[in-house]
Symmetry: C2
Subunit: 187 residues, 2 copies
């Protein structure tokens, strides 16, 4: 890929994320993104069709990284199959989030976080679902597998949002403990 393209693409992403820290997604204009990224108008439209397109691309780039690294760690650790393993997939995810190599936390903290949650939830749901299949657990419950998967990934996302709203006072390890406390009893 052309070095010029990489630079402008990154500049647009960064400008977009920076603006999202200050104002709502709906109220951000393409012109503002252009100015913040310091590029030409036509350049923006050469890269993205619309603002919504930019949003989608950004989400794909960030969340896929997050989930990929989680899947990698799951190969060595598993979901919660071994009760004594201190580092679960979720714990890894939390640590990864806190280190914030990518800007996922910024997006989940911003005013328009709901928009990003859809993408994050979808990725996470897929992760949990595959992990569930991998560890053929005893299905003695009266609960549909479907419901359970949704409950787990949903609870995880809700915890992260709660964590962010409370200004991230807890460590990833603490959060992992909380999460185990509400999830393991029902597995």
């Amino acid at each position: 890929m052309d070095r010029r393209q990489q630079k402008t693409r990154a500049a647009i992403f960064n400008a977009f994320i920076a603006l999202l820290g200050n104002k709502n997604y709906n109220n951000i204009t393409v012109q503002e993104i252009i100015d913040e990224a310091n590029i030409g108008r036509s350049t923006f439209y050469a890269h993205f069709e619309t603002k919504d397109d930019l949003l989608k691309e950004l989400c794909m780039e960030l969340f896929s990284h997050i989930i990929d690294s989680a899947i990698d760690s799951s190969h060595t650790h598993g979901l919660y199959s071994d009760n004594s393993v201190p580092n679960s997939v979720f714990c890894h995810l939390l640590q990864h989030l806190e280190e914030n190599h990518n800007n996922v936390l910024a997006l989940l903290s911003c005013e328009s976080s709901e928009i990003f949650l859809r993408y994050f939830k979808d990725s996470l749901n897929e992760l949990v679902r595959t992990q569930f299949v991998n560890q053929n657990r005893k299905n003695n419950q009266s609960l549909p597998n479907d419901f359970l998967v949704n409950h787990i990934s949903g609870s995880f996302v809700e915890m992260i949002l709660w964590w962010i709203r409370g200004h991230r006072k807890q460590s990833p390890t603490e959060l992992d403990q909380y999460f185990r406390a509400v999830i393991e009893p029902i597995l």
Copy 2:
């Protein structure tokens, strides 16, 4: 309140909800709402400052009703204090939703449901919080009350979304059972 005002206000709300069934909130124009509601342009702006204002007002009207009726039922039934009570606050809420007197389900089912979730979650969180205080339960857990409240209301909302996505195949009673199964073990 003037009969004319009531009618146009209702017409705008209905038009707005109808449009939300077809397209994203962001892509709905004020002109479309005006046409759908069959009113004059200046009339719309006499009622609402902006499209966002309309959104806010609609949420306040719908969700406050939902929550109010839930609070009423909580006075007679309680949260989950008495384990043998078949009709919990949540069950009432679910029944109320399914009957869909108001259009809450339509909004939570639409493409821009995330926008409405913020309001719904806030209302629900408040409900759970007050109910928790009312039934001074044993706090022998290592979990912060704060976290627990968020987990419960968050899980409830996630369940409703899961229910909607799956085309509402379960009855409110079934959902209530599912919910109890994942919540009561940690209380």
